[in-house]
């Protein structure tokens, strides 16, 4: 009898849980957790973007469900794209994107057979820097130029993605130099580590990826691809325009996209959420200002247009430089 009672109690408990969960459930999207996929290992620019957005969403409770950040670094974003393409519940995945990933989709053919990714919102514009080790042989661009012209291919440059490769190709073309590009590293964190350890000479990095190390006096940014002079702590870094190469200008967009075939409802939902994120103090000061970025929010429709335009521009550029 006692045992039967225990069994009954358990069934009741289970039933209660089932019922409570069932009634609490609403049909409103999102009805379960979201995965935020980062095409890069932890600590890189994309990772910081993804984690900052997630943290702000959770802090302000902009979304009821949990968002789990998943790092899928490697293969210049192809690993993460492959991961997302294999999913069927496309409304529950977000990806960070930037111009580099946009380019890589074509270089590595990592787009889903189902079609292109779904643009959601643009978040910021980022600059690109040529960086060397502090206390090393190359304190400025003039010394690099001298060494590389005297001995082509003698300097190794670390790259983390296809856009870095494109930036380097642009620099090589316009300045008449030839470097030894190093293979892709899984992340800019690894590039920075290898540069610090003296395993290569130079690297192409975004400000967000080296700001701590530049402030700390371990790395020097010797030239920026920015259209105009940059804010602190990069105020001493000359642009390539100022160094006499006005055509060496490049910026990259940082954005959020969804898998191919994401529903319109989900796309607009996240576009709205991200707008709220971009208006918070944490975002403006803690992310944009601190990481020396330029805030530029575009909603789903504007970004879709911008995405298509910038994609075409990137591809044309890449073809011209012989990357694609």
């Amino acid at each position: 009898m006692k045992k039967l009672f225990v069994v009954l109690l358990c069934v009741l408990a289970l039933g209660g849980v089932l019922w409570a969960q069932g009634s609490a459930e609403t049909a409103k999207y999102p009805d379960r957790g979201i995965e935020f996929v980062i095409p890069g290992s932890a600590g890189g620019g994309s990772d910081i973007l993804g984690r900052t957005i997630t943290d702000i969403i959770q802090r302000y409770k902009l979304v009821d469900q949990t968002i789990t950040v998943v790092n899928k670094g490697g293969g210049a974003s192809a690993v993460s794209h492959g991961y997302v393409n294999a999913k069927s519940d496309v409304d529950y995945y977000l990806l960070t994107c930037n111009s580099a990933n946009q380019l890589s989709m074509h270089v590595n053919k990592s787009m889903s057979p189902k079609g292109p990714f779904t643009p959601i919102a643009n978040m910021a514009l980022d600059d690109i820097l040529l960086v060397s080790r502090a206390g090393g042989k190359f304190p400025d661009w003039a010394s690099v130029e001298k060494a590389i012209k005297a001995n082509p291919s003698s300097l190794t440059v670390g790259l983390a993605d296809d856009l870095d490769a494109m930036a380097l190709a642009l620099l090589e073309e316009k300045t008449g130099t030839k470097f030894n590009p190093s293979a892709y590293f899984a992340s800019s964190g690894e590039v920075a580590t290898a540069l610090l350890g003296g395993h290569m000479d130079l690297a192409i990095l975004n400000p967000v990826e080296c700001v701590g190390l530049v402030e700390g006096g371990r790395l020097i940014a010797i030239g920026s691809f920015a259209p105009k002079a940059m804010a602190a702590p990069f105020e001493k870094t000359p642009t390539f325009t100022a160094l006499g190469h006005p055509e060496v200008v490049m910026q990259m967009s940082r954005s959020v996209i969804g898998p191919a075939g994401m529903s319109r409802e989900a796309q607009l939902f996240w576009s709205d959420v991200l707008q709220k994120v971009s208006e918070t103090e944490e975002w403006k000061v803690g992310y944009i200002q601190k990481n020396v970025l330029e805030g530029q929010y575009l909603n789903a429709d504007d970004f879709t247009k911008f995405y298509a335009e910038s994609e075409k521009m990137l591809l044309d550029f890449a073809k011209k430089l012989g990357i694609l």
């Binding site: 039967l4 225990v6 358990c10 289970l14 849980v17 089932l18 019922w19 969960q21 293979a183």
Partner: protein, 153 residues
């Protein structure tokens, strides 16, 4: 059995090696290609599995009669092992359509009550506790997005 395993491994490594050389390129433009590591290790694997294959064939030729006796014995236990495999595959299908709570409860309960032959009441208690633990830790606390069905579970 041993023969079959070595043969499969040998063929697999041969395939890996062939693909590595023909499709993924072993070395290109002064750099190791995608096929570099696969080719090296599949070649090593080919050598060793071939060695094991030969050894096994030699052994089989030597004592044929003993083997036959053993083979009959082995196959019974080999087949028994397929029971949980089929059962788990069924559980995965159930999981896909009925969600985690229902499917894991049934997976535990049916096995306990009908295969392990534990008393029904005891089976029920154990499977309820197990399901509840899984639910509390994975669904409530860690919020893993499991497939859902009735009651949103």
């Amino acid at each position: 059995m041993e023969l079959a395993i070595n043969l499969i491994v040998f063929l697999l490594s041969a395939y890996w090696c062939q693909q590595g050389v023909m499709v993924y390129s072993f070395w290109n433009k002064n750099q190791p290609g995608s096929g570099f590591i696969p080719v090296i290790f599949s070649a090593i694997l080919m050598v060793f599995s071939f060695f094991l294959l030969l050894k096994e064939i030699r052994r089989m030729l030597k004592n044929r009669s003993q083997d036959e006796h053993q083979a009959a014995k082995l196959s019974l236990s080999d087949l028994r092992a397929l029971l949980p495999v089929v059962y788990t595959i069924a559980a995965i299908v159930l999981f896909r359509f009925t969600g985690v709570v229902v499917s894991m409860f049934l997976t535990a309960f049916i096995w306990l009550a009908f295969i392990s032959k534990v008393r029904i009441a005891k089976s029920l208690v154990i499977s309820v506790i197990l399901t509840l633990t899984v639910y509390l830790i994975f669904v409530v606390w860690l919020r893993i997005p499991f497939p859902r069905s009735i009651f949103g579970l």
